[in-house]
Subunit: 478 residues, 2 copies
């Protein structure tokens, strides 16, 4: 009776204990579980199906824009990792080292990739010779390893899954355009497909990627008021190209360094989906990536014609969405709770009375609204309601983010907000690392980004009072 036991356990309420609420959902929706290697996760079928849907959408968009998939090795020789100074400083402290192959000690240690810039650069140095070889627009889907001490399901794990785009261009301008384009691909994906509102902006010098000239980010606000960096896009200039001696003959027949970008999104975004849309009944999944978009639950299954009609509906809907039917012997009540917990966007109930009237009942997961649908108009209604769910959860998330975004003019206001509230703080900044460090040390708050959309709150840095340079989003972050 493994299945029925689950009904008894309840999900901890979000207000009571957010961390436990999160872990309960991950566990009860069977998204992932931990393995015997500390911090390494097993992504279970329901969680992996979400990741596959994310991959499918993004992979299609990358390819439409001319990117090609490749596979780089998972191992990096120590000397290769060390070629770019900032990069090795950023990553060397947190890599896993392979020292033995079989019973032999290796002459040089190899690390498991924490990211693959160095591997791509070495390959680029072999295959880029002329401007005719550019641009190179590469991407790979893989897992990477970072030796984190504190881990959280999906949000921070020793091994995690992602894609990493790596591109090389003739000009700085073209590379910058690519960086911006890919940030927009991520932003549109988050907002339109995942229904997660994001702030687009640039990371400060302190928070940028090790080795990048500029890092761009999309930042989302979770239910508990903490920020989640949801995807990043980096402009490298020619720094790596110089370190790895990648040159090409330009159109004037002169040797030149190409300009580089990289960009990525990871399984961490699954944590973002949970913490943006979930509620006390469990997951709420955006239709675009829900493994099951519509669950059909026949009512009074034993009555004549019910299963037949439900099957008919199942077959009809298969061509327009991801649909399943549950004909197990559990009660309808159990099934309702189960698929609510799993975040299925629409539940379709069909029983003898509905059949008589030529209708069915559809219940939205996001707001539990019940809609009576004429079976003759079923396909249109299902598509319309899936879109309504998407809009509904986006608007709810946007409203919450707006309600949880505060403005502060000085340290007193920052402190007061930080002590009494959770959320984004918008405040002016002078541009100094010292002010960033002060907020981090005193309040545990970090700069999230310099948003593209600037507002002029005041002309003074909220932290030191000196002349302000930018308006920043600040917050506690995952």
């Amino acid at each position: 009776m493994a299945k029925q036991k689950k009904m008894v356990e309840e999900i901890t309420s979000m207000d009571e204990d957010f961390v436990k609420w999160y872990t309960d959902i991950v566990k009860k929706a069977e998204l992932m579980s931990y393995s015997s290697v500390k911090g390494c996760m097993i992504i279970q079928p329901y969680g992996y199906a979400i990741w596959e849907n994310i991959q499918k959408i993004l992979d299609g968009r990358f390819k439409e824009l001319g990117h090609e998939n490749v596979a780089m090795p998972m191992l990096i020789p120590e000397s290769l990792l060390q070629k770019e100074k900032d990069h090795v400083e950023g990553f060397a402290p947190e890599v896993a080292w392979v020292t033995h192959g079989g019973s032999e000690k290796l002459q040089e240690r190899l690390c498991i990739r924490p990211t693959s810039e160095t591997l791509f650069c070495e390959h680029f140095s072999h295959i880029i010779h002329s401007w005719r070889d550019l641009p190179k627009l590469y991407n790979q889907w893989c897992s990477v390893v970072r030796w984190e001490k504190t881990t959280r399901p999906f949000l921070r794990s020793v091994e995690f899954y992602w894609q990493e785009g790596h591109t090389m261009h003739e000009t700085a301008e073209e590379a910058k355009k690519e960086t911006e384009q890919m940030l927009n691909v991520y932003a549109n994906f988050c907002e339109n497909d995942l229904a997660i509102p994001v702030i687009k902006g640039q990371k400060t010098e302190k928070e940028k990627f090790a080795g990048a000239e500029a890092t761009y980010t999309i930042e989302a606000l979770m239910h508990d008021g903490k920020a989640l960096q949801s995807a990043t896009s980096h402009y490298f200039g020619d720094g790596f190209a110089k370190a790895f001696d990648i040159t090409f003959q330009n159109r004037e027949n002169k040797s030149e360094y190409p300009h580089q970008t990289s960009w990525g999104i990871s399984t961490r975004i699954i944590g973002g989906i949970i913490m943006t849309h979930g509620d006390d009944n469990g997951l709420v999944l955006p239709p675009a990536i829900a493994p099951i978009q519509v669950i059909i639950i026949p009512i009074a299954m034993h009555k004549e014609g019910v299963i037949d009609k439900a099957n008919e509906i199942l077959n009809e809907l298969k061509s327009i969405c991801r649909v399943k039917m549950d004909t197990s012997e559990q009660t309808p009540g159990w099934k309702f709770a189960e698929y609510e917990m799993k975040g299925v966007p629409l539940r379709l109930e069909i029983g003898p009375k509905d059949i008589e009237k030529g209708q069915c009942v559809i219940v939205r997961r996001d707001n539990r609204e019940k809609i009576i649908v004429n079976l003759e108009n079923l396909e249109n209604e299902v598509l319309r309601l899936l879109e309504e769910v998407r809009k509904g959860i986006y608007e709810k998330a946007l409203e919450r983010r707006n309600n949880m975004t505060y403005t502060a003019k000085n340290m007193d206001e920052i402190k007061e907000i930080s002590n009494s509230k959770q959320g984004f703080i918008k405040a002016m900044w002078c541009g100094s690392k010292e002010c960033e460090e002060k907020l981090k040390d005193e309040l545990g708050i970090t700069s999230r980004c310099i948003p593209f959309h600037q507002e002029n709150i005041s002309d003074k840095c909220a932290i030191c009072g000196e002349k302000a340079k930018n308006m920043l989003y600040w917050g506690k972050a995952y």
Copy 2:
């Protein structure tokens, strides 16, 4: 002029030097290149696109049969690897060991997975409790690492890509059926999609997978007469279940061990495609997995209306196949050679005279046959010709295999064939490991499989002359 340089270099002829012919194709078709870690490969876009097409077809078939994808960690603690005795003996000598995380020495070494039975078993022990939890039909797409000393592109590399299916069942019968079913999925895929004829059979005790009760295989014969083990399917019985203490309450409410299988196919099959269908002009790709199925080459591009018509054809064909057009400034002759080398199944030429006549010219890669096609009937003809290419290369490969399969009744005949010919040798076998070892030591020949389709060549073992048990396929293998 990177592109034009390639034309000058020729592919080494197959008869002259098969190994060099193979390496030339891999390099010139830009399928893969080596990284700075010995034996670890970079799969380049054209090679990876082949792998993606393989994945797409097989993943769909696995899912149709109820399998679900998951992701297991890439790291295995040493103690976990050691739980199943035969398994650790088989794999421990060839794994890469992680000993440090960041700057700290780990308390227990971790190996990078050489295969994931131990990880799946540990997970199964946590999630299988009742017969209601069975079957578990899991699969994962990933890379694994085996510390090989001698490597060959795709055929044997330190890191390689594959899928590994892992399933758990209530009964031995059901698990055996799964083992057989998955072997058939692979065999059908190889024969129908890759056009590679295969022999289905069982591995001997000596050649079976470390920890399996029985290993089933499909064996293909390469152009040079060597055998390639193309995919395997293993029946584990309850050996791993016992070692990992995986039990379930059966329908009679008694505790029982479940029965297990695993099955896999890897990027090695790309080597199989090259060595089955390739010729002295380069790759010949089966249409099902060719990244480009039809290449359109406009002739006399500068003449009015040619590019327009070619574009029209491109757009028409896009809905039925993977089609590209090459409008670069290279000569048609260069393009013909380039796409022949890349193994594109059909080349479509369209020039002013063709347009006048409302036709185009299609050239098959496999036999260079030229077909004049009326543009009104283009879609049907393209689909028909892709199917003809598939059949054509299958039949050619089958004929070659038949011509290269020999029958031997005794050691003298085996020696004579082995000294003068390349190919499969069919011979009777008494069932003893000693006879297998003798052939290996004296002639470098291994048993490929005990084919399901048995023939009675004689009643005596060809090696020792004792009573024969089975007819075996023998050969030199990759």
